[in-house]
Subunit: 243 residues, 4 copies
């Protein structure tokens, strides 16, 4: 799998660098390694690498891509965003974190504005499990706190999630659908809102566990053979040999 | 409401003109007038009008837009497609018919390829109700036949519908999710697959009834005041006066 | 439509009677009359009437039933609960309010424990719209406050709602899926959690509006003709005449 | 995991015994062993054993239960059905096969009639994947045929599945939602309609693969710690230590 990160604010803002000295991507990668260990091979990619570190060969061999971006969504090339969208439809998993809700790949896959309300303050976020049968909540307590945390509030303009896993509340009274699953084509998408560059959210034990669970859930280890590459003209009985 | 149509094949193909002498849009408009009568005001718009007949003033005053297009999706301007997408997110209803599954507005709103299998042959389509509690099935029998009909078959690469209303089978054995509801932003979308320019599908009593029901269902008569125009910075207590 | 109420605590507890002098059912009925006016005919029924006021003739002529009960769920006869369940499956709407989550009809229709967390304290509930395209939010602001209010918190053990309309937060930090739609058979169910006998919740303008919207949404004005009365043996071609 | 079977018709009907000499349960168990091998320990239980082979100790140590029953649903004791329902809500997986749609545990969990249309004839069933991102379709072709097969047709009176995986068509033109996922409480339920005692359906390679995939999907290997045992009174701050 591949952990993607803008990796700019870490280099320009000492406050962020103090929390994520090797970049947010390395902290996220360490969470996945911590929980999934030998089950997965983790590499990283960042905005300022050629092709943002996501050329065709990388995408083709990525089962699950995690995405963290914030201020530089526009710097992601349209063709790379389109290639990611296509790879998800072809069976890659995508775990979109925090401000990635406005990233080009996510916007293309959702078809909505993905806007929300926000506040940088000293809120405490409480993350509540509302789907205890779901694979993403494995080992997660009924509620956990992240403090301090940026507020993300409703209305969050995404399609109704195929599965809603977490709902968060904030000190200010807002609520947010903070853990959302979307199935698109042959691929799976998980959006998880916690995470802010100025707070050590990706060092939080439960956040790390959820991300690892999400990676495991999003991994389609053998993509379906259904053909979605084009509209296939299909003469009567086309499937007789296969079926 | 506004009935949109490419309105080209009717002018070039005598076979189509014989079935839809005034254009497919007029036949669809007549179905809506037949069932909804005084409850709605129906106008039409077509591809070769300026701005495709869908300038800002028209869209702004359209509660529900129906869409029929087939061979000339690419001739729809990107900015018109974007404006339609935005109007849906702001509360307009959209009823997408048949080959409109590959239209630009629908593709943008779905985020998937919207590809499917197809066959122009002599199949009989059977349309089965699988959601009898839904408003779109009002007055519709448990199953109705359309014959002859073009085949549209799975896998249909759309997001899981928020509500699945009809499933069709074909003589050749294929199945298709032929009546699908999608909620996006403040708007409602209904996709209904029956309809082919070479067959009198839009003269079919049940097809006409479903389209009218769908228009009624898709009509959000008072859009929600939630603000989705941007990510709104929201200081603590921002809602106190409103709430 | 019929408004059902236990109507016991109003007669024994002066505090409740002060808020709901004619019983909670009359206050709810007045909300529906206020918003729907001539469009609907409202009658009431209570636990201590014969057959709880819900004999076959009443149920048969009820399009939508609202339900408020709290301490005496067990006093509802099993056969009445079963008859209500059957009427919903046959196309009646059901609006279940507050502590009705543990009522026999709701439990039978959900198939889960319907348990939740609760606290009688001085919380403020904030009700957030998370589905602005839904008919139930018509005219409802993005957020509204109910204070003071009993807390109902997650995990709420119901099936995933077919449509989630509202999420609430409480001063204590809990969240709750407070407005939930369920389609069952040919009928529609709306659960709305606000409401407590010791607080004037059913006098709250937005609560009254939501209840009226929900009644309108839940009303299936012409039940589908699909046959769900039994497993129907269906010889090949059974539908030819109908289709 | 535990494979449950009525195991009566195999003993009384030589035709069935010829196809399933050791009982349908042994054939189903062999499918699971074939695909999951060492990953799972399979035992069987049948109607005529004490407590139907499903006493508390068995249920408590069962991660996934598969269910096949047809003519003797009424012979299952109510308290056993209730115990199964409770175990699912507490995190057990349940895979309900074919005529198990009318079994007591399934009816209790669904809350609907679960009725459908049916025909014992010489239909060919075609099973189509409509959710290629789902774990249950791993290794399954886009369509596969089962012939001959009993027809199960819509309308199938179940709640809208949380995830719809397969839709079937039949020679007679009917359609059926043949692979349906339901999340209930902390547990997962998969209904899979193929399977008839007079046909060798459970020897079919793809049917066997789907059942094994479904067992794997339904297995919640560590139930969520959310408390659904009762309505929990929760004083303000109850979660502070945990969160």
């Amino acid at each position: 799998m591949t952990v993607w990160n803008e990796n700019r604010v870490e280099r320009t803002d000492p406050g962020v660098r103090a929390i994520y000295p090797a970049g947010i991507h390395e902290t996220i990668a360490s969470a996945i390694r911590e929980h999934l260990g030998e089950r997965t091979e983790v590499r990283t990619a960042t905005l300022d690498e050629p092709v943002h570190g996501l050329d065709g060969a990388v995408l083709e061999t990525t089962d699950v891509l995690t995405w963290w971006g914030h201020l530089f969504h526009d710097n992601v090339a349209d063709d790379v965003a389109a290639a990611i969208q296509q790879r998800v439809l072809d069976g890659m998993g995508l775990v979109v974190l925090h401000s990635g809700h406005l990233s080009k790949p996510f916007l293309r896959l959702m078809g909505t504005s993905c806007n929300l309300r926000w506040r940088e303050a000293d809120d405490r976020e409480l993350v509540w499990t509302v789907n205890p049968a779901h694979a993403v909540v494995r080992g997660v307590p009924p509620v956990f706190a992240i403090e301090p945390q940026e507020m993300y509030g409703e209305f969050f303009d995404v399609p109704t999630p195929d599965e809603l896993v977490f709902i968060s509340s904030y000190t200010g009274g807002e609520v947010f659908r903070s853990g959302c699953c979307f199935l698109r084509g042959k691929g799976r998408i998980f959006f998880f809102s916690p995470g802010h560059e100025h707070y050590p959210v990706y060092h939080h034990a439960q956040v790390r566990r959820v991300i690892a669970n999400a990676v495991l859930w999003a991994c389609v280890d053998q993509a379906s053979p259904v053909d979605t590459s084009t509209c296939v003209e299909s003469p009567k009985g086309w499937f007789e040999e296969q079926a």
